[in-house]
């Protein structure tokens, strides 16, 4: 049964991927492509769809991991301010013209920002040796506001048009996607997903509580740290690919838990694939629903996601991890 569900998810992902490539203001049927269509497909659509898929994958998987390590159903990189921290660090890098690592400077800065913000939120959320959900969420919301405000300040102060454009993508604009960011983006997402999957058993044990995780042979603090690094990598990838997009990390693990159960060995890859499919769909809707206008993909994820989330809320125990 579980294999069948995985197969269905896989086909949904392929179907969404295919539709995202073919559909748009101009419908491109593969087979007989002219030069213009080839240019649209390979220079515009394919990188854009890949960026959306990679971002969604990173957000879905990191949501599942964060909800597990914090034992909190409302955790995701966006809510906890990790995305804003990553964006702020990346934006500061761009504004100050930092290029010490070439094209990977932005993701490296985003990673540092993600880890720093996540660390601060984590420390503020600790009370009497354990994470307190309310403190953690409030700390996340606070940090998120602070980082977003600083980002806005940077945007308002930057006069140079190029810089203004460079910081625009931070707010979830996929229309500027190109091939340049895809290699490091996929590498970071892949490392993050593989790292979190390799610790999936430990994540299951951490959900039972630190003492039971210890009894099962794991070192809770060490496992949580490794998993947190994987979240940092995936958030950095997502932010440096296309900026901040909310809801996917929060929503997708809940949807997938409903279909696949809570075992993170299946939940993490399922949330990753589901997240990829959802963001591709959202992006497809965003560029086809009101042509020639494009909506931000993040708006569409929220419009698709919020009603489903509200439906989930009405289900018994829907908000448990």
């Amino acid at each position: 049964m579980s294999q069948l569900k995985i197969l269905i998810l896989f086909f949904i992902v392929l179907f969404v991927f295919f539709c995202s490539l073919v559909l748009g203001p101009k419908i491109i049927m593969p087979g007989a492509l002219d030069d213009v269509e080839r240019e649209i497909l390979f220079s515009i659509r394919l990188p854009r769809v890949l960026v959306a898929f990679l971002m969604g994958t990173a957000l879905g998987a990191s949501g599942a991991v964060l909800q597990g390590i914090l034992r909190n159903p409302l955790a995701d990189p966006y809510v906890l301010g990790i995305s804003s921290g990553a964006s702020l660090a990346a934006a500061l890098g761009i504004i100050s013209g930092m290029i010490f690592l070439g094209s990977v400077t932005t993701p490296v800065l985003a990673f540092i920002g993600a880890i720093a913000t996540g660390g601060i939120v984590g420390v503020m959320g600790i009370k009497r040796g354990g994470f307190w959900p309310e403190r953690l969420l409030l700390a996340g919301v606070g940090m998120s506001f602070l980082c977003s405000a600083l980002l806005m300040l940077i945007m308002s102060l930057s006069t140079d048009e190029g810089m203004r454009r460079a910081t625009l993508w931070i707010f979830g604009d996929l229309s500027m996607s190109d091939w340049q960011r895809i290699p490091y983006g996929s590498a970071l997402v892949l490392i993050g997903v593989v790292l979190s999957l390799s610790r999936a058993k430990a994540l299951n044990a951490l959900i039972l509580g630190d003492e039971l995780a210890h009894s099962l042979g794991f070192a809770p603090q060490r496992e949580r740290f490794i998993l947190f690094i994987s979240v940092g990598l995936m958030t950095a990838a997502s932010v440096s690919l296309g900026g901040m997009i909310g809801f996917i990390g929060l929503l997708m693990p809940h949807i997938m838990r409903f279909f696949f159960g809570a075992d993170n060995r299946i939940l993490i890859p399922a949330s990753a694939l589901g997240g990829g499919a959802l963001l591709c769909t959202a992006d497809l809707v965003s560029r086809t629903v009101l042509p020639p206008m494009e909506l931000p993909a993040g708006v569409v994820t929220a419009i698709i996601g919020a009603p489903y989330f509200l439906y989930l809320l009405r289900r018994k125990d829907a908000l448990s991890i």
Binding site: A205, G209, H214, S215, L216, F218, G261, D263, D317
Partner: protein
């Protein structure tokens, strides 16, 4: 009934522990758990029962002294190796755990690369939960939830089970059920059990009790010998009457306090 062998599986050697710098809590504690032991750790709230179990499981580290597990230093034991020898269940088991009974029980296999002989169905059968294998943990009763965790520790294959107040918040029926299950596991599978509890009459069902006060042992041995009027007064600060009746030949009454 299996006899308790002389093989020591857990030894506390002059163990001291403190929460914070100037709050010594456990002072120079020394005792041994032998193979086949079925021990009730009895004491008032805050007497140190949980701390002793957490030290024994390696969650807390002694500030001085040593703890050995099958003759090996517990603090040097690799996590996975330790998990195959000793299993600890905390007092509070999160009721919001999202797993099914089967998913949770199968976590008992996590310390193993090559799964041991027992499988999930067998472990569930032992605790009488085979029919509820696909149920979600949050939909079970308190007693069933406890038994699910016991099944997980069975699969874990540890020879020593440390249970922190597993009877707390359980109806008397489930309390009896759980104690009988553990006694049976000890008889059939030779699993040694150390269980913290605070019901002095339930302690009579244990082969041995260890009476704890202020982080130290004030009596250890057969319950009918340890649980004297004076010692119970010392441990719980309450006057009791030892009545001679019941299956165990005695019953501890505290009704005259009301």
């Amino acid at each position: 009934m299996p006899s308790v062998s002389n093989l020591h599986i857990l030894d506390f050697n002059g163990v001291c522990f403190s929460y914070g710098k100037n709050r010594p809590f456990i002072r120079n504690l020394a005792f041994s758990i032998r193979e086949g032991d079925f021990i009730g750790l009895l004491g008032a709230n805050g007497s140190g029962k949980s701390t002793i179990l957490k030290l024994a499981s390696g969650i807390l580290k002694p500030s001085s002294g040593s703890i050995t597990l099958w003759g090996r230093d517990l603090s040097r034991e690799n996590g996975r190796d330790r998990a195959k020898l000793i299993s600890y269940l905390p007092q509070t088991l999160d009721i919001g755990v999202p797993f099914t009974v089967r998913e949770l029980v199968s976590m008992g296999l996590y310390p193993y690369d090559i799964p041991p002989a027992m499988d999930v169905d067998e472990a569930l059968d032992v605790v009488g939960l085979l029919e509820k294998a696909e149920a979600r943990l949050m939909d079970l009763s308190g007693g069933e939830r406890r038994r699910t965790f016991i099944a997980m520790t069975l699969l874990q294959g540890a020879g020593l089970l440390l249970l922190d107040e597993p009877l707390a918040n359980l109806d008397i029926r489930y309390q009896i059920e759980l104690v009988k299950l553990l006694r049976n596991l000890r008889a059939v599978r030779n699993i040694s059990v150390v269980m913290a509890l605070h019901d002095i009459n339930m302690a009579l069902q244990f082969e041995n009790v260890m009476l704890i006060k202020d982080g130290g042992i004030i009596g250890v041995g057969k319950p009918e010998e340890v649980l004297t009027r004076d010692r119970v007064k010392e441990a719980f600060d309450v006057d009791v009457d030892i009545k001679k009746n019941g299956v165990k030949g005695m019953y501890i009454s505290y009704e005259h306090n009301f």
